[in-house]
Amino acid sequence: MSANWGKPSSASIETYLATGGYKAAEKAFSMEPAKVAQEVLDAGLRGRGGAGFPAGRKWTFMPKDNRPRYLCVNADEGEPGTFKDREIMRHDPHMLIEGIIIACWAMGANNAYVYIRGEFAEPANILEKAIDEAYKKGFLGERIFGKDFKLKVWVHRGAGAYICGEETSLIESMEGKRGHPRIRPPFPPQRGVFDMPTVVNNVETIASVPFIIQEGVQAYRKFGTEKSPGTKLFCISGHIKKPGVYELPLGFPLMKLINEVAGGVINGLKLKAVIPGGSSTPILRAEECQNANLDYESLVAAGSMLGSGAVIVIAEGTCMVKLLEILTHFYAHESCGQCTPCREGTGWAAQVAARIYRGDADMSDIDVLYSLGANMMGRTICPLADAAACPIINFTQKFREEFEAHIRNRGCPQKSPFPVEFK
């Protein structure tokens, strides 16, 4: 997937064509749409946005009627620690466009929207330019690939809300409304954008499609594990020597990524903990990481989730209370304000976490904080509350002694909450 990254003018259509670009789309158009969807299903491609739902299955949920239908590509990449979709759009936007063409052919959609977060001005510009190129070459527009099939692709820029990465609020936002998640059912394939059947897929998911169609199921399944086939982009950040995006087969050992691929913990510090899949996934203490592999199943077995593949490395000497304060502040800021537990719970938890960090708290506040998280879990329309609750519950359980130390010490016992100062 990242083969073309780093080449000179990798984003241009010439570079993409020179490396066999748009051949997969051509091949797909020689196949029955249902067969294309079946290939993707057989390849076992799972949603790369965080939930890991089989992509091909989502496509087959589209009703077989004559209503207009839409593909929405979720490029709202907002999960803290995640920056992979941005790189796809910056370095190889045509791979995404080709994936869109194949996906739309498979599900019979004549319009595709790329919902891109407002802060991604540069990737959005690159993507728009690439879409223009694809129109000029006839890969988009009327009668593409010699078939009576038209396809238009639109780039829709968001206004900077984390919640709009959730698929139903993304749909609301697309329609020009406030980004409030919808109650499900109905699910987007029944009623999505403009109340029409819609599939929402992550950028990386769609960008994985051309390879599957071009090289076939067997070639794709050579990578990864039985249940989590293929490669995935991992964003490694935090206290690490070589932060960045790495494409690795699923099932890759977590410690190998940290110690070998990314050069180890910064300044030779000891590893304290890892958040393996973006800030909404449960944190793993160093000892819990030792045997964990980066695939959907092993991380669940280790007590966390693969999420969006954002590996956040935390070195010894990091104040976990400070970290929780930062995270609770983030979720309090981003809660859409719709459901009671999340609206009030995130703000309250942020206040308590900040107080504990300042040392302006009692021991009972740790339990209050914990229960604020526990009472949010699973009690709202969308998973934002779960995401917010997750670090609250985990941090207060796994690092309780640090919280107690803050209260006893009337403040942070460390000189600085972080062992390394970032510029």
């Binding site: 800021h333 981003e334 809660s335 537990p341 309250w348 206040q351 506040d365 009472n375 009690r379």
Partner: protein, 469 residues
């Protein structure tokens, strides 16, 4: 085919497509809820109606869960009770809890639910501040909004958008800073705005008119029918010590569902103010207060001298009974009867009718026709029966008039004799609305001063004149 479900062990047979909440409420099993309102779209955000459903991994909201064959629901187990407590705890986190000065206290859903389902001491540390929002924000000519009391249930937004068809309010900001506000430059300037005060489950939306006037638990609610237009909305008259403080819509699927227009709602003032409570008779050109007996005698004297030249004019908002008695009485004196209408308004697509009288249909049923200018000219003595909102009669001035009226109206001021009668709030009767629905109403209040029911007054006059009615 009905769906069989079980709620709290009770087997229920439910129409398919219904939600668990609807099924439970219909079966008399109460599930607490804030954002759900039977006449508004489902929102599913307050999370108060969470219930346990067998074979689901987590609690489900009853308002958005459709019944399915064999579903087993628990609305009151330990898990559900704890979840409700936590929702209430979250709700009260930023709520000012200013019940002692809140108009909603006593009929507040949040207050009631706290007593029923939580009733625990707050865990909020005094060191955690509540989020400051707008207090007493003027939101238009009729409403004041307290954004801190608001629990963001979105009922008001859904009402304005989907029912009143006037999308003027929205929520703004996010998280616990969320507020309800108008769109930039807009106001809640709508003929149905005060319904927001009814559907608001807390004291966020308050009526400028009712604010700080009365603690609601002191009020008595008497059912009645609004006489302000031909719709005849079902209402409650809320009163204390013979003073009316507000009108509220009363649920009636066939007429007004659960809504009421602002005009009708604020028309209650006429029940309290400018009422005619003593008989008046003209002596030497000036209208003077007299006893009720003396007033009746003066009227009898005038009527006896004008037999055959009498014109009866009745308000089209008078009840069927008043109109029936009036017609018989005037006919017995050899006179004719016409009805008199208020100035017409405009139909809207919701409740209000152009016909501003509550009983024109009833008049026509009794064979009474509408008054025209020519009718007046031919007669010597006018006998006028007014109702609360009657307007002056064109061409009536200069004529000798006996006026039976509940109010100190222009017409009563010009009368030779004015006799005080009960308004709709103090009498019982029937209005026939524009669709032909006969709606009975009963007295909410006692008679004021010397006022009597119109029928009593007419019978008294007939007795003295020796005619049968």
């Amino acid at each position: 085919m009905a769906v069989k479900i079980k709620i709290n062990g009770r087997e229920l047979s439910v129409e398919p497509g219904k939600t668990v909440l609807q099924a439970a409420l219909e079966a008399g099993i109460y599930i607490p809820h804030f954002c759900y309102h039977p006449r508004l779209k489902i929102r599913g955000s307050c999370r108060m109606c969470m219930v346990y459903i067998e074979k689901t991994p987590k609690l489900q909201i009853a308002c958005a869960t459709t019944v399915a064959e064999g579903m087993v629901v628990e609305t009151d187990n330990e898990e559900v009770r704890k979840a409700r407590q936590s929702v209430l705890e979250y709700m009260l986190k930023n709520h000012p809890v200013d019940c002692p000065i809140c108009d909603k206290a006593g009929e507040c859903t949040l207050q009631n639910f706290y007593m029923d389902y939580d009733a625990k001491a707050s865990r909020l540390s005094p060191r955690d501040k509540k989020v400051k929002k707008g207090k007493r924000v003027a939101m238009g000519p009729t409403l004041v909004l307290d954004q801190e009391r608001c629990i963001v249930c979105h009922r008001c937004i859904r009402f304005m958008r989907d029912v009143a068809n006037n999308e003027c309010i929205t929520d703004a900001r996010r998280g616990d800073r969320t507020i309800i506000t108008t769109f930039p430059g807009e106001q809640v300037n709508d003929p149905y705005s005060l319904n927001l005060t009814d559907i608001c489950p807390v004291g966020a939306w308050t009526s400028k008119d009712f604010r700080f006037k009365k603690r609601v638990w002191l009020l008595t609610s008497s059912p009645s029918v609004c006489p302000f237009c031909a719709r005849g909305c079902s209402i409650f008259i809320d009163h204390e010590k013979e003073v009316v403080y507000r009108l509220r819509p009363r649920e009636n699927e066939a007429v007004n569902q659960c809504w009421l227009c602002d005009e009708g709602r604020l028309a209650y003032k006429a029940i309290n103010d400018k009422r005619l409570v003593r008989a008046m008779a003209r002596e030497n050109g000036a209208l003077k207060e007299v006893g009720i007996g003396a007033g009746i005698n003066s009227a009898v004297k005038l009527l006896a001298g004008s037999k055959g030249k009498i014109l009866g004019i009745i308000s089209a908002s008078a009840s069927l009974e008043e109109a029936g008695h009036f017609k018989k009485f005037i006919n017995a004196l050899g006179g004719k009867v016409f009805y008199h209408r208020r100035k017409q308004g405009r139909d809207d697509s919701f409740l209000r009718r152009a016909d501003r009288d509550s009983n024109q249909k009833g008049m026509l049923e009794l064979g009474i026709d509408e008054l025209s200018g020519q009718d007046i000219v031919k007669f010597e003595l006018l006998v006028v029966l007014e109702s609360l909102y009657s307007e002056p009669i064109n061409g009536g001035s200069g004529k000798k008039m006996i006026v039976l009226s509940p109010q100190k109206s222009e017409t009563a001021d010009a009368a030779a004799v004015a006799l005080p009668i009960a308004s709709y709030a103090e009498s019982e009767g029937i209005f026939v609305n524009f669709e032909g629905k006969r709606q009975k109403f009963e007295a909410a209040l006692n008679l004021k001063g010397d006022a009597r029911a119109a029928s009593w007054m007419l019978r008294e006059l007939a007795k003295k004149l020796g005619v049968e009615i």
